[in-house]
């Protein structure tokens, strides 16, 4: 059942505040008149403009509980969102992350009170280095995009130390949007590298574009088609020979744990998405952690601070000499770090490898079962994700968007749509290792019956979803005349 839940502001009932503070204090001799006197013109006088409702606890809880029910989530729906690695988030992790002894850790506490937390932090730095084949790892970046920024800045500094300044960077056409967005931060000219008919980077294109003006290449492996870049070592050789570096986008690491170490096949610096591969929950859009691993050459440039171990003590190391510096406040998202640590400790080497194996198995099973009805733009073997397109349904005037929306009616979160950009009408499926055979078969049957519906009752698909409280939403209208706040709404 789904309610039409109004905005929380409509629940406002003046002075019905649900929270009070300590009644045991005697400081109230400092009354509000004194406070107002002291603050004078500096006191906020337009409190009526502050849009915070006064609520009772039951009213607030009902509101947010009802809202939550309007979300698809991994715990209730299959979530085969390509490139996002929506795997199950174990409850043990949530228990741990909410422990009072972690919640009460202030980043500036004396080191001796932080030993246990710093130990976990230190160990995760090492575990990720081992998994990625890197010399050293930083847990500072808040998300993958911040990892990309840090990595490219490390490369820039390394070039500067060689008295070099380069002006362009190579990014494959299939790359995530964050790659070119990060590159342009440094004012690098982004040169797109085309993919061959097998869905892999054209090595000749790399050879043609890579010169002494070029910083290097940003690579995702397996790439966003789920295809392994089997010439990565050769590509890395070309880049390295001409003084460049390889930045690895680790979004797709879930295909490779225990199979390939990116640091061993030419990647100089790479971000891990702990909120993907290491199953820290995605939280409806973060927080995540975009830890970065670096080769021996680039490790000195990693962001500060780091956690180190000496004389039997863990400590926070600020101001590393060659470091690119600080990229955010404090140490990073420890809430994610503790979860990722538990994940790696729970699975161990064999478990992590098995996770990658099952993720690849599940994907190939879906690929095989769906390939009769859904067009595969690339036939090359895939690993943890597969990309179909909507080409075969063009005659029925049905698009990837329609299929995605119809899947919602089957209780399945849609795959990633219209990405990668090199595939027109793409549907990118990544079931992860989370899906059981039963759930996989359910998903497959849903896709197949939609394929039938497209032929028999296309309108049903065209107008989907039907089971949600809202039909398709008008995105163009939202952008034309933006209503972005409650105040905007009141002005309507």
């Amino acid at each position: 059942m789904s309610h039409d839940e109004k905005l929380v502001f409509y629940r406002h009932s003046e002075n019905e505040a649900g929270v009070d503070f300590s009644h045991e204090d005697d400081f109230y001799h400092l009354d509000d008149t004194l406070l107002e006197q002291k603050l004078g013109d500096n006191l906020r006088k337009d409190l009526d403009q502050v849009d915070i409702p006064d609520l009772t606890e039951p009213s607030a809880v009902r509101h947010f509980t009802r809202l939550s029910k309007k979300n698809f989530s991994i715990d209730s729906e299959s979530y085969p969102l390509g490139s996002c690695t929506m795997k199950y988030n174990p409850k043990l992790h949530e228990w741990a992350a909410r422990l009072p002894g972690i919640n009460s850790l202030h980043p500036y506490m004396p080191d001796h009170l932080l030993q246990e937390a710093l130990k976990i932090y230190y160990e995760l730095q090492n575990y990720l280095s081992i998994i990625g084949g890197f010399h050293k790892t930083s847990l500072n970046p808040s998300a993958g995009a911040q990892g990309e920024f840090s990595g490219l800045l490390m490369i820039k500094k390394a070039l500067e130390d060689r008295k070099e300044k380069r002006s362009k960077i190579l990014v494959p056409k299939s790359a995530h949007g964050t790659n070119p967005a990060t590159a342009s931060f440094f004012s690098y000219t982004v040169e797109s590298i085309a993919m061959g008919s097998d869905g892999r980077i054209l090595i000749d294109e790399v050879r043609r574009h890579m010169d002494a003006q070029c910083v290097g290449l940003m690579i995702t492996n397996p790439n966003t088609l789920g295809i392994f870049e089997s010439e990565q070592k050769e590509i890395a050789e070309i880049i390295h020979e001409r003084g460049g570096y390889i930045y690895g986008d680790g979004a797709n690491l879930n295909a490779l744990m225990g199979k390939v170490k990116p640091g061993e096949i030419g990647v100089d610096v790479m971000h891990f998405n702990l909120h993907k591969t290491m199953t820290t929950p995605h939280g409806g859009g973060g927080p995540g952690c975009g830890a970065i691993g670096a080769s021996k050459e680039l490790a000195p440039y990693l962001p500060s601070p780091q956690v180190d171990f000496k004389d039997n003590k863990y400590f926070i190391k600020y101001n590393n000499k060659k470091s690119i510096g600080r990229i955010r406040s404090f140490l990073g998202n420890f809430g994610m770090i503790i979860r990722a640590w538990i994940y790696i400790r729970s699975l161990g080497a064999q478990g992590l490898t098995a996770a990658s194996e099952i993720a690849v198995l599940n994907t190939n099973y879906m690929k095989k079962k769906l390939a009769h009805e859904f067009n595969l733009p690339y036939h090359t073997d895939c690993l943890h994700e597969v990309v179909f397109d909507d080409r075969s349904f063009a005659i029925n005037n049905i698009t990837a968007l329609d299929i995605a929306k119809r899947l919602i009616d089957y209780g399945i979160h849609p795959p990633t749509m219209y990405f990668p950009l090199i595939v027109k009408g793409a549907l990118m499926i990544e079931p992860t290792e989370t899906e059981s055979l039963l759930d996989l078969d359910y998903m497959i049957n849903a896709f197949l019956s939609i394929a039938q519906e497209i032929k028999s009752t296309p309108e049903l698909v065209k107008n989907a979803p039907h089971t949600t409280s809202l039909k398709r939403l008008d995105e163009a209208k939202a952008a034309r005349k933006p209503v972005l706040t409650y105040k905007d709404l009141l002005k309507e």
Partner: protein, 437 residues
């Protein structure tokens, strides 16, 4: 399953990887642990720290009502993805819309985005945005901004080849007006002036003055707070003429967690919205004309605009943004205002107690949460810290850690979480004359 696929082994599924690329041995990780083992190992975290904590410095803890953590355990919140599929994500989308409404109104600005990583990156993105808007290569940053925010700014702005000029604070702990005046006289290429208020020492800065100067020099004013409760007590940033308002919400997300994840808050007016970084949720209607929510103005963002995006941010801090929204709604406007007033009064109370114990306070203008106590030198300061630790009190942090030229100054935060008794005790420890005992 392998039969269906037509492969004879799992290994065959990986045959697209050349054998020379494969790791030669299993990962060298420690042996795996069971759930029971892990719970035992994490037992050390079962209890709340036994220390009374007077550390703030950009991370002041605040009271979190019980229902917040309970609500956040709903898997619909934490196991969902970024709400790209609007029909399957109305819960998150509506909550973000509410968050945008709360945050923008607290700042007195027209629009807030769906969150940044933290206060430091929000402030950094604000400076980058100002340079995009004004297209001038220099920004001015006041040194009483949280030092770690300054370091973050330095990393990013140097990388973007933007010139940063710093304005010092004077012996009252406030930005040096004379120096700012001189900078503005000499330089004509300034895109923004950034200030924090209450600043790192807990003092409110004269933002109106900065905004006036910025306007006269065709620059934007950026103001930041590391504790969002200040926004409901003091004249709003918007009212003071601030163009981009940013803040940190960490204290209102239900835990300090070693300083992360917090949540970066970011607001401006609609005239600037197309230069804004990050996600935005807008209201629209569905095919039946029923109201609903979608991600909007996405043509600013990396997944659409790629190399021409306003920022590379993708994953933000959504769940902590939700925690912030819920916490603020739990207080209500009345309660949040009361919390801010309580915090202000606690600081006044602490200063009264310091006076009683003859402990000199360093900076004397309007304080919020933080107090700087003058203990003369680092030696005495460290002794006091140790004395306090013996009584299970973390008294604060030395400013020398952040400003090497400062000596013997202790930064102490007092909030609604500290009882009068605890505050009294701290003042006594600080006042207790070691030598005469």
């Amino acid at each position: 399953m392998l039969d269906t696929i037509g492969k004879s082994s799992i290994e065959e599924l990986f045959s697209s990887i050349p054998s020379s690329y494969r790791t030669s041995a299993p990962l060298e990780l420690p042996l795996k642990l069971s759930e029971l083992d892990i719970k035992k190992r994490l037992q050390v975290f079962l209890n709340h720290s036994e220390y009374t904590n007077f550390l703030g410095a950009g991370a002041c803890e605040h009271f979190s009502p019980s229902w917040i953590s309970d609500q956040l355990l709903r898997s619909e919140w934490y196991t969902s993805y970024t709400p790209y599929q609007a029909e399957a994500s109305q819960g998150t989308l509506q909550a973000i819309f509410e968050f945008q409404s709360v945050v923008s109104s607290l700042f007195g600005k027209e629009v807030a985005n769906a969150s940044m990583y933290d206060g430091a990156t929000a402030l950094t993105e604000a400076l980058l945005m100002a340079v995009r808007v004004k297209k001038k290569s220099t920004v001015v940053v006041v040194k009483s901004i949280h030092p770690e925010y300054q370091e973050t700014i330095e990393t990013y702005l140097k990388a973007a080849e933007i010139n940063t000029i710093y304005v010092n604070f004077n012996d009252q702990g406030l930005f040096d007006q004379q120096q700012l005046k001189e900078i503005l006289k000499e330089r004509k290429n300034i895109s923004a002036i950034a200030v924090q208020s209450p600043n790192f020492f807990g003092l409110t800065e004269d933002i109106d003055l900065i905004a006036k100067k910025a306007r006269n020099n065709d620059a934007l004013t950026i103001a930041c707070t590391t504790d969002m409760s200040s926004t409901i007590l003091f004249k709003s940033f918007g009212d003071s003429g601030v163009d981009i308002a940013v803040g940190e919400g960490l204290g209102f997300t239900g835990g300090m967690n070693l300083g992360g994840p917090g949540v970066g808050l970011f607001a401006c007016d609609k005239t600037l919205v197309r230069q804004m970084p990050g996600r935005l949720v807008g209201m629209t209607t569905d095919a039946n004309n029923k109201p609903g929510f979608v991600l909007t103005l996405s043509t600013r963002e990396q997944h659409i605009r790629r190399e021409r995006a306003t920022s590379n941010i993708c994953t933000n801090h959504n769940l902590t943004a939700l925690a912030f929204l819920m916490t603020i709604c739990a207080y209500g406007r009345t309660g949040f205002s009361k919390l801010a007033r309580t915090n202000f009064k606690k600081t006044l109370y602490f200063r009264e107690e310091l006076k009683k114990n003859q402990v000199p306070v360093k900076f004397l203008s309007t304080h919020y949460n933080e107090t700087v106590v003058d203990l003369k030198n680092e030696n005495i300061l460290n002794k006091k810290l140790e004395q306090a630790l013996e009584q299970k009190i973390i008294a604060g942090i030395s400013l020398k850690k952040f400003y090497p030229h400062l000596d013997g100054l202790l930064l102490i935060a007092t909030t609604e979480l500290h009882s009068d008794t605890q505050i009294k005790k701290l003042a006594q420890i600080l006042g207790d004359n070691h030598e005469s005992r």
